[in-house]
Structures are given as C-alpha cells and as structure tokens.
C-alpha cells in the first residue's frame, strides 16, 4: 500500500478558511449522570454518577479500560442514548436528540458506502438545507483541508482505512459544529497512520478551537492531544481522576520527548493498570515474585 500523504491545508488553492464564530459556545456539562442498561434480567451499570464540566474550546480526552463506559458517555452527549439519571447540558440546554452542533467521528465503517467521499462530506450541509451544488463546493473545501481534495469522487470502499477516517473528520467539520465528538476515531488504524492523523487533527483543531470530547484507550494519544484527561474507572464506573496536560500549544511530535509528557504518561499508566486489573481478579499478586 502506498503510504498516504497527509497534506497540510494548502493555502494557495483553497479559499481562506472562514473561522466559524463560536462565540464562546460549546460548553458541555454532565450533572451526576448515570446510565444503566437493562438486559437479560440483569441490570448493568455503564456509568455511575459522573460529574464533568467541559469549557468551550477545551480538548478533553476520556480515557479508560474497556468496559468503563467511555463510549456510553460519548453516546449520551451525542444524544444517541438517554441517561438513566442526571442530566447532560450543552450550552445550558438539555440534550435530547442528536444534532449537527455536535457530530460524531466514529471508529470505523460510518461513511455511507453508497455515496462518494464528496457526497459523504456534503451530507450534513444538504441536511442543513444547502443546495446540492453549494454543499458540494463546501464539501470539496473540507476534503481539501484533510488532504483528500483529489479523492472526492472515490467511494469509501476505494479508500484506505486512514483516508476513510479523514473523510469522516471532514464530514463532521463541514457542518461547522461547536463541539466535536470523537469515539476512538483512530483506534482501528495502523500505528504510523494513527500518529499522522493525530498531528493532522491537532493542526486543524488549533485553527478552530471547537470543543472536542475524544474517547480513547490509548494513553499516548490522550496526552498528546488533550488539554485535560478524564480517567474513567471500572466497577464502579466513575470518574477516577482528571489530569491537566501541561504541554504547550501548538504541539508537535517533539512534545512526546518532554519530561511533562513522560511523567503524566507514567501516572496514567499506573492508574489505568490498577483499573484494568479489577477484571483480572488477583492474578497479578499471585504471579508476582
């Protein structure tokens, strides 16, 4: 496979980017949020009493082991799932349905396979009532931003996994949201592509500064991208800690070499390890020398 080119937004052949005026919007508040799933006669607790306030323009990573409910958290903010107790507020108003103010970038297979890359990106604009030519024109611009301007006519199955994720990102950005919800968006990609995608996302976000809620189980990814990292624990599925990331912006890959990165990475590693072990019983203490 020829390796993908992650082109920087080229300034010469695209119109200047109209920075959406966010007007300090994009605040997300979780107010003692609980989610329980009833199934098979038993009730599973996906989230218990989560309180979280995300400021407009903040990049928050939700980190935790599998089963901690991090995707559920995102789905509730997106409006796909209803809380069993507590509230989700976006800019002070309760969330009841999904909406284009907070689109989701999914892990994979979320592009419409029957639409070209261009029409996938134009979809949200069409839904907002834009005429098809105008929507396509804008979509072309956003595909250019993720470096896929020349791939507009391709169908998702003709694109690599990384390219599909970039189309997914362009599709979410195109509706000019105040909040971007990302559900392990790079989790299914190979390590090389993932790193390039992270860098591209940062470059785009640093121009926009919309609120980002980024779910991941990858500690490195969380530290490299986020302003703040919220760790969810297992049994009970509660917030186990929140960490500010003291790395300056704009960040480049050099940030990974800094002492601040290393110490935060290690602290998070220990915490996640503790949480993950809960599902392993006492194996670790038995086999320890």
């Amino acid at each position: 496979m020829a390796h993908e080119q992650l082109a920087l937004p080229s300034r010469q052949n695209t119109t200047p980017l109209p920075r959406p005026s966010l007007h300090g919007r994009g605040a997300v508040t979780l107010d003692s949020l609980s989610v329980r799933f009833a199934g098979g006669g038993r009730e599973a607790v996906a989230l218990a009493n989560v309180d979280l306030a995300i400021a407009p323009g903040e990049f928050v990573a939700i980190l935790g082991p599998s089963g901690c409910g991090k995707s559920t958290l995102l789905n509730v903010i997106a409006g796909f799932e209803r809380p069993s107790a507590g509230r989700v507020l976006v800019d002070g108003g309760p969330v009841s349905t999904p909406g284009p103010d907070r689109p989701v970038v999914f892990q994979q297979h979320s592009l419409f396979p029957w639409m070209s890359a261009l029409d996938n990106v134009a979809f949200g604009l069409r839904m907002a009532g834009q005429a098809s030519t105008r929507a396509r024109e804008r979509a072309r611009h956003y595909l250019g931003l993720v470096g896929l301007g020349d791939f507009h006519h391709r169908y998702p199955h003709e694109l690599s996994g990384g390219m599909q994720q970039r189309v997914g990102l362009a599709r979410a950005l195109a509706v000019e949201p105040t909040i971007l919800l990302m559900d392990e968006p790079f989790g299914a990609l190979d390590a090389q592509t993932r790193v390039l995608m992270q860098e591209q996302l940062l470059r785009l976000w640093e121009r926009w500064r919309h609120t980002v809620v980024f779910v991941t189980h990858d500690i490195d990814e969380a530290v490299f991208l986020a302003d703040r990292i919220v760790v969810l624990g297992l049994l009970p599925n509660i917030v186990r800690g929140a960490f500010d990331v003291a790395l300056s912006r704009p960040r480049s890959r050099g940030a990974r070499a800094s002492a601040a990165y290393q110490s935060l990475y290690n602290a998070l590693f220990d915490l996640i390890r503790q949480e993950s072990q809960k599902t392993f019983g006492t194996t670790d203490t038995v086999t320890a020398p």
Binding site: F80, G99, P103, F106, S110, F112, W114, G124, H157
Partner: protein, 258 residues
Amino acid sequence: MRPLVRAGLLGLTGIALLFAAWTIAARKLDNTILLPPPTALLAGLRETLLDGTLVRDLAASLKRVLCGFGLAATTALALVVATVSFRPMRQLVLPVLALLRPIPPIAWVPIAILWFGLGDSPSYFVTAVAAFFPIFVNSLAGVGIVEEQHLRAARCLGAGRLALIRFVYLPSALPNVFTGLKVGLGQSWMAVVTAELIAAQSGLGYMIELNRLQLETPRVLVGMLVIAVVGALMTLSLSWAETLLFPWRLQQRRKGTT
C-alpha cells in the same frame, strides 16, 4: 485478468465436452427421435428462425414474463412498504405468505386455468407467483439490515425521519431489493415455460410440447437451448448491472468470504 481468461477457457472447454459427449452418444444410439445429434439441432434452429416460429414464441414468452414479473414486483414492493410502515401488517401478512410459499409455481397452473382460461392470463398469474416470493423475502430482509452506525451518523449530521428513509434506509435496502428482482426474474422465466407447457397456445413451452407431439425432437431441443441461453443472459446482465449499481456490495461480499 489471467485467472479470468483461464476461467473462460475452462468454461468453454466444459461446453465443448458436453457437445462432444452428446455427438458420440447420438451416433451410438442412432435414433434421431430419442437423441438427435447437435447438427440436427443447428438445422432445427435454422428452420425455426426462417419460418418465424422461434421469434414469435420467444416474443410471446418474454411478454408474459415481463408482465408477470412486473405484476409481482409491484405487489411485492408495495407489500414490503406496507409491512415496514405498519407493524401489525407484518404479523398479519407473514404467516399467510409462509403458508403459500412452499407451493411450487407449477401447482398453481390448474387453478390458474380454471380462473383465467387458456391464453396469456394464466401465464401472467403463474409467473407472478413465481417471482413474488424471492422479491418480497429479499426486499424485506434488506429493509431490516440497515447499519445502526449509518443511522447514527446521519442523525448527528441533522437528518430527520424523512431524510433517514431517503438517504439511509432506501440505499441500504436497494442492493437486496435488486437481488430479489434478479432471483425473481430467473424464477418467473422458469415458471413461464412450465405454464406454457400446459396452459398456452404460444411461447417456448408450447413450442416444446407441440414439437414433442409431432416427434420433431430437434425443435424440442432448439426450444430448450433458447430457454437456457435467454435465462443465462438475463442473470448475467443483471449481475453485471448489480456490480455497476452497487460496487460496494461486491467488496463487502469479498470481505465476508475471506
């Protein structure tokens, strides 16, 4: 491209072997009524083409298939829409269809003659019955297999109920609907010949039966050959249309099998 050429060559060899075995068997048997040689078939083809009967019968069969198939497609798709948009309809209709489905199209021929007499009408009915079930069953399954992730993606980009139907449910269902139409057309093509053997005075099925009575075996075989070639052409062209219309499906299927 090379495996394709290889497959083509092997396929042609298979057909050539069939004709070779046929020629040898015909020579050994030496009975042109029970088994005429392939050369007699060619002569029969020439005769029936020249006297116009072959074209006339083929046209009659095609017309019946298209009418019956059109009738089946219309009712099956209307019923799918009704069952999808109105839940009790599903529970009402599915048991009835499950009961009727095992009845082979040929078993409908006698009652079709009683109801419609001889001529085109019983054939319309029987071909419609044959095509109805594959179209209905496949389309209904297609409506059920929409990806939750596609629905979510569309909703968070601002799609309302109507937009979901038009841009997500419909394109998700179309490939299966098309598969249903493809299988349905094949079934109705087989059914029309069955119906014509008994209930018609024209068409390829009638041609076969008439020539059997007159011991014109080469012409019987001509009829069978034309049925085979037309049926294969229908399937091939629809499969080809399928890859043009739904290119992503091919990909999914390949992924599924490896």
